[in-house]
């Protein structure tokens, strides 16, 4: 089984060009008078990799936390397949199809790698407490299939050898991939990756790069928040640049790389070739 089954591809009739999987409209959030995100709108089409970049403090993590329901926005809408999710509890965002990883790992360190991924299958398994306690036949079968799928996911991210290792005994780079496997286990419609390459060396970062490209090829829709520009430019279909909680620019990686406002925000000077292009 693929990690991303039955997902509409970018050219599918159902989710064709222009039809957004995720539509964010006029989103705003302040913390005690500081505006973290201000009147932000963007759309993510199915089957694309949408990167969000910006300097530290630009509001990327705040945005991500709103997209999965951890923070409630002050105003605006978050529509997934047309349904506005704002105000619902976090677990409903997950049930609607949003999965994520965390910038600062949020691994279940009290479990093995396999159990972490199996926990990720939560929404896909029978989860009645009574049936679980009585270990009904259906429950036992469900447990076996959950284990099989989780084994396969661990294989896909190259962690099969760690399956019975407790997470607190695993290296950092492996935990980064474990979080991705755990998020994929829920079969999300949209996967949000919060700095998946942060703190990784060159080899590990290129493994993440390969993994994201493979997910995209399988039709998974991804929102990627990342500082590693080589990774962003290599895998993205669309790039959104945030600065001070506002949208600075949005476009393909090539457009973004040429955009004088982006160059200025990142380098602090106007590139000579683009002089005059930005007042």
């Amino acid at each position: 089984m693929s990690a991303a089954p039955h997902r509409p591809g970018p050219n599918d009739a159902v989710g064709g060009e222009g039809v957004a999987l995720l539509a964010v409209q006029n989103l705003s959030k302040s913390f005690g008078g500081v505006r973290a995100i201000e009147d932000l709108s963007f759309e993510v089409r199915p089957g694309t990799v949408h990167s969000i970049i910006g300097p530290n403090g630009a509001g990327k993590t705040t945005l991500l936390n709103m997209l999965v329901g951890v923070y409630v926005p002050d105003s605006g809408q978050i529509r997934l397949t047309g349904r506005d999710l704002v105000g619902e509890p976090t677990h409903r965002f997950a049930a609607a199809g949003l999965g994520r990883t965390f910038q600062n790992l949020q691994i279940f360190f009290n479990m093995t790698a396999l159990e972490n991924v199996m926990t990720g299958r939560h929404l896909r398994e029978r989860r009645s407490l009574l049936a679980a306690m009585l270990r009904t036949r259906a429950q036992a079968r469900s447990e076996v299939s959950c284990r099989d799928v989780s084994h396969r996911l661990l294989e896909q991210v190259g962690l099969y050898g760690y399956r019975d290792t407790r997470a607190d005994a695993m290296p950092y780079g492996a935990l980064k991939r474990l979080e991705i496997a755990r998020a994929l286990a829920a079969e999300p419609l949209l996967l949000l990756l919060d700095e998946p390459a942060a703190g990784l060396n060159q080899t590990e970062a290129s493994e993440i790069d390969t993994l994201i490209k493979r997910l995209a090829a399988e039709g998974m829709t991804v929102i990627l928040v990342e500082h590693n520009m080589r990774l962003v430019m290599g895998v993205s279909d669309q790039v959104l640049v945030l600065e001070h909680g506002r949208k600075l620019a949005e476009g393909t990686p090539a457009q973004i790389a040429r955009d004088p406002r982006v160059i200025e925000a990142y380098l602090g000077v106007v590139d000579a070739a683009g002089a005059g292009g930005h007042a």
Binding site: V70, H91, Q106, F109, M111, L129, R135, Q139, S142
Partner: protein
Amino acid sequence: MERAAPTASELARARLRRWAFDPRSGLLALAVVIVLLPLFLSNNYFYDIAIAVALNAIVCVGLNLLIGYAGQISLGHAGFFALGGYGSAILSGSQGWPVWLSMLTSCAAVGLLAFVVGRPTLRLKGHYLAMATLGLGVIISIVVSTEDRITGGPDGLSVPPLALFGWVVRGEHTWYWIACSGLLLAVWLAQNLIESPAGRALRALHGSEVAAETLGIDSARYKLQVFIVSAVFAAVAGTLTAHYAGFITPAKASFMHSVELVIMVVFGGMASVFGAVVGALVLTTLPQLLTVLKDYEMMVYGVVLIATMVFFPQGIVPTLARWLAWWGRR
């Protein structure tokens, strides 16, 4: 240096370790102990203690699910225990219901009460459940000791013996098998729960609540369900205790009894089903053993508790399991 092939003793040790951590072997070991124990129980007094251990252990296995897995403390479990006992005593006594129906009804009523108390409190983050159950326990304790027309007041209430379709259960020996079967069932149910999506969801809440919620886990719902399960376990043990003893007093509902139950769970080890059993075993038998010390009984009891928490900070069973794991890896 190349790693040598494992020796026979290393293999044996690895096998032993795998066996020791398999939950099924724990249940089997407990069953073996229960079957062999009567060989060493030389009189009815010992049987009586064994029954008390088994019934306390049922409460602790349930309470451990709540404390060790859902991360919530109840300071009112003696209330659920007593309510189960009194409910069944009143229904089967003055109301003349069949005993089995009285037991079922009073356990279901306790489950409903747990739902009513848990639903608003478990939506809040923090230890509001501990406060709510503390209050509830005190109310139950006051009600059973003052409503003397129904409950017999401080003098207690006599309870009809357990009768199942004409067969009247009497005697310590029969009760030993009933209480121990109940314990085995409780352990089996608890282990099944832990090794299921619901159990993993609960452990995930301990690991990282925010990650658990972003995986679709409704934390309030699971905490509530486990609270109800633990209250019903306490009620079941309460009804069995009442019908076994043939008598029930308000002491069963006291706040001190609630605290004792929590101590048993922490002493044996949180988030460990067998920890709850060991905690119930040690802390039920210890006061009996210490009676020979007369005046010093409570002092020694306190020293044992303190020493255990110093040397076995995670409780007896998890600390021993850690030592065993370390020894197996060596």
